[in-house]
């Protein structure tokens, strides 16, 4: 480095710390008394002790309470003696008239410490053990004060003046509280019963306020305070969370612990480095969690970061935060600029403590991490080729500098990139990159590369004990197994496996392995939580022990429990771990969705939404909502889905690249198709297509979705040849980009098109191909629906095949009825009825209930979907059956239903208006 950077100050005397010292003096006065003056009972004394303990613990946080807040807290702790406490506190402060008084004050402080080697301690003597927490605090304060230069003392003195002034400026409130004090002192004269009752109500009130109001008004010296003030509310909402899976894990692991060792107390500074680092980590989490949603404005955090940067130009992590912030608000140029600036300044050594700096590469900086981050940034902004180039370079540089950790992460990022982005040909990519890969790679497909990269990354992560990376690699592997048929890498010759099938068991295994992280974590929690946020965790947890000390006056047993609350909050799951576990649930939901179990998918999504919804990244939470709404639309009809969508929209629409918009378009399109409003459907299709990026290979999912829907719209408009054209070209795209699962549904669509166009013979091979695809990918639900189409196609070939169609249908029925959506079920019922009716051996008059039951079921379900075309068909069939049976009333009823649906189908606009 340019040598102009300095090491961070560790511990600075602040007015708040002096307050704590004054209180400590009260707690343990140097005079020898068993119970110092103001305390009436040992319990009271202990309570103050506990309070002081928590205060000293939270002293490492970036925020400190103002004097006024401190006094408010004292009131709750001190009960009847609080007036005395606050008086004493303010008096002591006002007694500080010159810097010399400060000097004397700290000299006095020395007196309350017991000497280290004093063997004889009288029973009734209160002595602060110099090695206890409180004693250490006092010693640190004294030391820090002694290190101050005279100018430093002067500055401390003037900041004390400000500190007291702030408290006095809110004198109105102060007076009010004084009144309150008086009334409280009257309680002494009351009898105990009354007292206890009042106390109870007060306690309830207090707890209410504790949960509602900010427990600490946060205090920092002037400017930083001003800067942070705006953020307080967001900070409060922020729950500890995490990063994107592999993408930001390096950041998550960042620990400032090494800094602590090298800290040299140089001079006064706003806060210590450790505190600020911790605070920034929290902010990073907040950016991740909220994205740029409305509750969390990126401009406010930006202005705050700017101020922080002004105050502390050598704090380079600010640049990284600005980068994250810009990344989430989709500002490419600013993000790039800040990322580069961060690495230019910090050389990748600040904040990224994945590898102990002793490994020798510190001399050259660790710029490979810069490459990794840059690659991931390009990935996020949808520049796959740039990202690939950069990551390739990252691989090369990490290898050169033998930074295995970075290599493992880079490989994971690369495999992620390759699997997410549609990259058609492999020859241009990875040209000169990773030697273990390239040696065998020339003939490999993208999938095989992804597999190799993942395996390699997993191996390295495993040997380096990067648990988060191992977990996320397992998840990636599960995703891979889910989507791809495993083939031996060198498959040639007669012994090549012919069994091409995905393996759900291995998917499940990988997911489980991924979720093992949580148990790994709990066994070595101590090593994983050491980031700067630890110290601020104290502050948050203070909120909880607050209530109990008040309660504990009547029951001594509770006190012990409150004490433990101090400790066990420290072992909370770090955000990144929670995030990964959450991701595993989402992946489970996705895989169940594909395998065709609707309830399981729904259950897993719900687990995710309830357990991790608040703490996860906004994009994951959005995905969970999306899945739930899709489920609603499929199984409950549009009304519920749209109601749910409204809620989700409020929450997520401001997030960049919102998937909710996509979902909305999908739902609208689906409904327009069902209602027969084809113009609207076409328009929505076009809009969908417009959402996708124009770059090759980017947003593949969206593009496939858009053209699939276009084909369906054309099909509904009875333009069969065009629909078939679109579907064909879509199939080619899917083949080019290796989208196997999409292929299955495109084939099914082609079969549908041929079925509708009356070419059942042409449709058959497509349906069969789709079924075989479904089999090899274990897509049970899709297979059932393909079987249904197959049955319909057979039926279309003539009544001779009705029997065969019925058999097929009945084979698929368990799956369809158990897991299928409304539309699929209705279709199955109608087809079944059709089969029966066209079967010459079936007589309506004897067995009418079989048919009628199915038809009734079908029309009920179609009602919810507003699917007029099918509903009309169902009512038509019903009317026919009733006609056969000679039940004229019912026939008329069915006929009128039929007429209604037909009219609605022909005039979709009217229906729209009616709905509106």
């Amino acid at each position: 480095m340019a040598g102009l950077t300095r090491t961070a100050g560790a511990f600075a005397v602040t007015p708040h710390k002096i307050s704590v010292c004054i209180l400590l003096q009260i707690y343990a006065p140097s005079a020898q008394m068993s119970l110092p003056f103001p305390f009436s009972s040992v319990a009271q004394h202990n309570r103050l002790g506990l309070y002081l303990l928590s205060l000293t613990k939270s002293c490492d946080d970036i925020f400190e309470p103002k004097l006024e807040e401190l006094i408010n807290q004292l009131r709750e702790v001190g009960e009847e003696m609080d007036a005395w406490l606050t008086d004493h506190l303010t008096n002591r402060f006002s007694a500080l008239a010159s810097p010399d008084d400060l000097l004397n004050f700290f000299n006095d402080m020395r007196g309350i410490l017991g000497s280290l080697d004093s063997g004889v301690v009288q029973d009734d003597q209160i002595i602060l053990d110099p090695n206890s927490n409180l004693g250490m605090f006092v010693r640190r304060c004294i030391l820090a004060f002694n290190l101050l230069s005279f100018e430093g003392v002067c500055h401390l003195f003037s900041s004390i003046e400000d500190y007291c002034k702030e408290a006095h400026s809110s004198s109105a409130q102060f007076d009010a509280s004084n009144n309150n004090l008086e009334s409280l002192t009257q309680y002494d004269q009351m009898d105990m019963e009354n007292y206890a009752m009042d106390k109870a109500t007060e306690e309830i009130e207090f707890q209410k306020s504790a949960s509602g109001i900010v427990p600490f008004h946060l205090h920092t010296p002037e400017s930083l305070f001003k800067a942070t003030e705006g953020l307080l509310h967001t900070r409060k909402e922020t729950l500890r969370t995490s990063k994107k899976d592999t993408e930001a894990t390096p950041v998550a692991c960042a620990s400032s612990s090494t800094l602590e060792d090298t800290l040299v107390d140089e001079s006064l500074f706003l806060r210590t480095n450790l505190q600020i680092q911790g605070f920034l980590m929290e902010q990073a989490d907040a950016i991740e969690t909220h994205g740029s949603s409305s509750s969390f404005s990126s401009s406010s955090i930006e202005s705050f970061l700017e101020q922080l940067q002004n105050l502390a130009p050598e704090l380079h992590r600010v640049h990284f935060l600005r980068y994250l912030n810009k990344l989430h608000s989709d500002d490419y140029f600013a993000a790039l600029d800040n990322l580069l600036r961060y690495f230019d300044y910090s050389a990748g050594t600040e904040g990224f403590d994945l590898v102990p700096p002793s490994t020798g590469c510190s001399m050259y900086g660790r710029y490979e991490i810069a490459l990794l981050c840059l690659g991931m940034m390009h990935f996020r902004f949808g520049h796959p080729n740039l990202a690939l180039e950069v990551l390739t370079e990252a691989v090369r540089v990490s290898q050169q500098l033998s930074n295995d950790t970075c290599l493992a992460y880079t490989l994971a990022a690369m495999s992620n990139l390759l699997s997410e982005m549609g990259i058609a040909s492999t020859t241009c990519v990875l040209g000169s990159s990773y030697s273990p890969v390239t040696s065998t790679a020339s003939s490999l497909s993208v999938q095989q590369r992804v597999y190799i990269l993942l395996k390699e990354s997993l191996r390295r992560a495993d040997s380096l004990k990067l648990r988060r990376l191992v977990a996320s690699n397992h998840l990636a592997m599960a995703k891979f197994e889910l989507m791809h048929v495993q083939r031996p890498l060198l498959s040639f010759g007669p012994k090549a496996s012919t069994h091409h099938k995905t393996c759900p068991v291995s998917v499940c295994k990988e997911i489980r392995l991924g979720a093992h992280l949580i148990s790994d974590f709990s066994s070595e929690s101590s090593t994983m939580t050491i980031d700067g946020s630890l110290s601020s965790a104290w502050l948050k947890d203070l909120q909880k022990p607050w209530g109990p000390p008040v309660i504990s006056q009547d029951s001594g047993s509770r006190k012990s429990s409150t004490f433990f609350q101090f400790c066990d909050h420290l072992v909370s799951i770090p955000g990144s771990v929670a995030h990964l576990i959450g991701a595993s649930y989402l992946l489970r939901a996705t895989s169940w969705e594909l395998f065709g179990s609707a309830p399981m998918a729904r259950m897993n999504t719900l687990v995710y939404a309830t357990l991790f919804g608040d703490s996860s990244s906004s994009s994951d939470a959005e995905l969970a909502y999306l899945k739930l709404i899709q489920h609603l639309a499929l199984y409950k009809g549009y009304k519920d889905a749209f109601a749910a969508l409204k809620i989700a929209e409020e929450k997520f629409l401001t997030v960049s690249k919102s998937k909710i918009l996509l979902l909305k378009l999908q739902l609208l399109h689906e409904r327009a198709l069902h209602c027969g409003n084809l113009q609207l459907a076409q328009r929505i299709c076009n809009e969908l297509g417009g959402l996708a990026s124009t770059a090759m290979g980017v947003d593949m999912e969206l593009k496939v979705e858009a053209s699939l829907r276009e084909a369906r719209t054309l099909l509904a408009a009875k333009q069969y040849s065009q629909a078939a054209n679109v579907a064909h070209s879509l199939f080619c795209t899917c083949h080019k980009f290796n989208l196997q699962i999409e292929k299955a549904s495109v084939l099914l669509l082609l079969a549908e098109i041929h079925k509708k166009s009356g070419n059942a013979v042409l449709g058959l091979p497509y349906a069969l191909a789709s079924i075989s695809f479904c089999q090899s990918f274990n897509l049970d639900l899709l297979k059932a629906s393909a079987t249904l189409t197959l049955a319909e196609l057979w039926l279309g070939l003539g009544s001779d095949h009705a029997k065969r169609a019925l058999d097929l249908l009945h084979g698929a029925f368990p799956m369809i009825l158990g897991h299928g959506g409304l539309e699929l079920r209705a279709r199955a019922y109608i087809s079944e009825a059709n089969c029966y009716l066209s079967d010459p051996s079936f007589s309506v008059s004897t067995d009418s209930d079989t048919v009628l039951d199915s038809l009734r079921q079908a029309s009920d379900e179609l009602q919810a979907l507003e699917y007029h075309e099918l509903a009309a068909e169902a009512s038509y069939l019903m009317a026919m059956v009733y006609d056969k049976l000679g039940q004229l009333d019912e026939r008329e009823e069915a006929a009128s239903l039929f007429k209604m649906h037909i009219i609605a189908l022909e005039n979709p606009q009217d229906v729209e208006q009616n709905m509106a």
Binding site: A8, F269, Y345, L371, E393
Partner: protein, 579 residues
């Protein structure tokens, strides 16, 4: 054209007024310009002759084309009969006199205290100005006292709030004079209110144009040409000085040169103008000219330290060790604690290859002025030499953050990353530097080399870059040669031949020889031979025969081949024919 006499009178009055108000640097500047005007023949005394430099070679060079390159509207000077600065009250108050002497002893607070009840405009200004300076002084002290581990503390000038309040009140009542407006502008600028500050400064310079400090403040607020053009400035010859300076800062060097040339008509002996001209020429890379100018400047003003760092850069570029050491010694004796002096010494050590010492002096320069742009960049260069890339990157980045238009630092960043084997990452920085200086072939060549590295091997892009370099008149001829070679590598022999021929032409024109020439000749001979253009091939072959070495043998065998192809017979041994 404004008359020299009126200028002289204006400046004389202004200097008095400025020093009355303790605006010393503005007074100093005005004084420099005053003697820069050609001497009054009336009080022409031999003592003044040393300022006369009419015989200078440089002067003549410029005076020749003066008539052509003064497209400035003389309209501005039609109203050049600006009112002379009105004289201050004849008798200064006693308190004012005391306060001024306190001020001169740098006891600012005392000075402002003495003036607490004074009402004359001069006293009021001095009071506020002293207060401002007292606050600044305290701020500097506090900055060091409070400097935290992470750099800058939040020390601020504590007087700013009260100053802003008082001055804005004065302004509202109209009791503010142009000096007050200047101070108000400075205060506003410091408080971050740039647009108001600009307005206030414009008002100040319009009513009192002779305060160069106000102009400089205004210039620092003009960050883009749009802002500059939007200023509503009334015409005065001082405005030309301002524009010249502002254009220079906005990297519009030719415009700025034009302004200065025009001003030289009046202020023919101004050191300031000469230094500024040299600066602009330096940016245009006219090193020889700049050297001459600086030499003369030093002859006339031997104890000048300002701008001498630029001179040292020129000497460095010309590798004039002795001159550089002489310069360093001189400024060192004049004032060793000036950032410029440290920078010059650093340059000297750098030229001598003692990079650690160079870094030490650059660092000292930066201690004295943290925003000293060129010192950061130069320090980056030193670190690159020392192979300490992270430190180099850090230094360059600081330069870039101080002034994002510093193409040298961007280039340095690119170079550093390329050195570390991260060419793709480096490309971004090269692109940045080229953005700010698109006409420099060196930058294009650097970028092309980056594309050419074996890691990237993006030859098409490299070719594009080299082409741009050729268009920017690449003096070293790297681009043509590389273009030819790249085309050859890609198997495009036609293009390769084209560029080899061009390169050959260039080398012929400059009378150069060397391996590049052999290479070109051999390629061209073979190329034309394979395309059956035997005559051309023969020409190149015979040229090759003039040189000794393996090329000669190659040429011989080529010639044999040509003969054979031409006659259709296996030719006889060429050795037998005397050539």
């Amino acid at each position: 054209m404004v008359s020299k006499d009126s200028c002289r009178n204006e400046i004389r009055a202004a200097i008095r007024q400025l020093s009355d108000r303790c605006l010393y640097s503005a007074a100093k500047w005005a004084g420099e310009q005053l003697v820069g005007i050609e001497q009054d023949p009336s009080n022409f005394t031999p003592a003044n002759t040393r300022f006369q430099r009419g015989s200078s070679s440089i002067r003549r060079r410029f005076s020749t084309n003066e008539s052509i390159s003064t497209p400035l509207p003389s309209v501005g000077f039609s109203q050049a009969a600006t009112p002379l600065p009105e004289e201050d009250e004849a008798i200064d108050g006693d308190f004012y006199l005391l306060a001024k002497s306190y001020f001169d002893c740098r006891e600012y607070r005392r000075a402002s205290h003495v003036l607490r009840d004074q009402v004359s405009k001069k006293s009021v200004f001095l009071r506020y100005y002293a207060l401002y300076l007292a606050g600044e002084k305290r701020k500097e002290e506090e900055m060091i006292e409070l400097e935290g581990p992470l750099g800058k503390s939040d020390a601020i000038n504590r007087e700013l709030v009260s100053l802003e309040r008082d001055l804005s009140a004065l302004r509202r009542t109209g009791a503010i004079d142009s000096f007050g407006l200047y101070l108000y502008g400075v205060v506003l600028k410091e408080k971050g209110n740039e647009s108001l500050a600009r307005a206030s400064l414009v008002e100040s310079v319009n009513s009192y144009p002779w305060n160069w400090s106000a102009w400089s403040e205004l210039q620092s607020l003009c960050t883009s040409i749009e802002v500059l053009n939007s200023l509503n400035l009334s015409n005065h010859w001082m405005k030309e000085f301002f524009l010249g300076n502002a254009y220079q800062e906005l990297r519009m060097h030719t415009e700025s040169l034009a302004k200065y040339e025009y001003l030289q008509g009046i202020f023919s002996f101004s050191n300031y103008i000469q230094a500024q001209t040299a600066k602009a020429q330096y940016s245009l890379r006219e090193f020889d000219q700049v050297e001459i100018m600086f030499e003369e400047l030093l002859r006339n003003d031997p104890y000048r330290v300002e701008d001498m760092d630029l001179y040292s850069n020129v000497l460095y570029a010309k590798e004039a060790c002795a001159a550089l050491s002489y310069l360093a010694h001189k400024v060192f004796l004049t004032d060793k604690y000036r950032p410029e002096s440290c920078c010059i010494i650093g340059n000297y050590y750098s030229l001598k290859g003692q990079h650690e010492k160079a870094v030490m002096y650059f660092r000292r320069a930066l201690k004295l002025n943290k925003k000293y742009l060129s010192a950061w960049t130069l320090m980056g260069h030193e670190y690159v030499e020392m192979k300490n890339t992270p430190a180099a990157i850090d230094a360059y980045r600081r330069a870039v953050d101080i002034n994002p238009c510093d193409y040298r630092a961007w280039y340095g960043l690119g170079q550093a990353y390329e050195m570390m084997g991260m060419p793709f990452y480096a490309l971004h920085y090269f692109r940045k530097s080229i953005f700010f200086l698109p006409n420099d072939s060196r930058l294009w060549i650097a970028m092309a080399k980056c594309y050419q590295t074996e890691q990237l091997y993006m030859l098409e892009e490299a070719i594009k870059c080299y082409k741009r370099a050729v268009n920017c008149t690449d003096t070293e001829g790297i681009a043509l040669n590389q273009l030819a070679k790249l085309h050859q590598k890609l198997g495009r022999n036609e293009e390769a031949a084209f560029y080899f021929e061009k390169d050959l032409e260039r080398m012929d024109a400059e009378g150069l020889e060397g391996p590049n020439m052999f290479e070109a000749l051999v390629f061209l001979a073979t190329h034309f031979k394979t395309h059956k253009k035997f005559e051309e091939a023969e020409v190149y072959c015979t040229r090759l025969l003039d040189y000794s070495g393996p090329e000669k043998e190659k040429a011989k065998s080529l010639l044999r081949g040509i003969r054979m192809a031409q006659t259709g017979f296996p030719s006889m041994d060429l050795e037998h024919f005397p050539i």
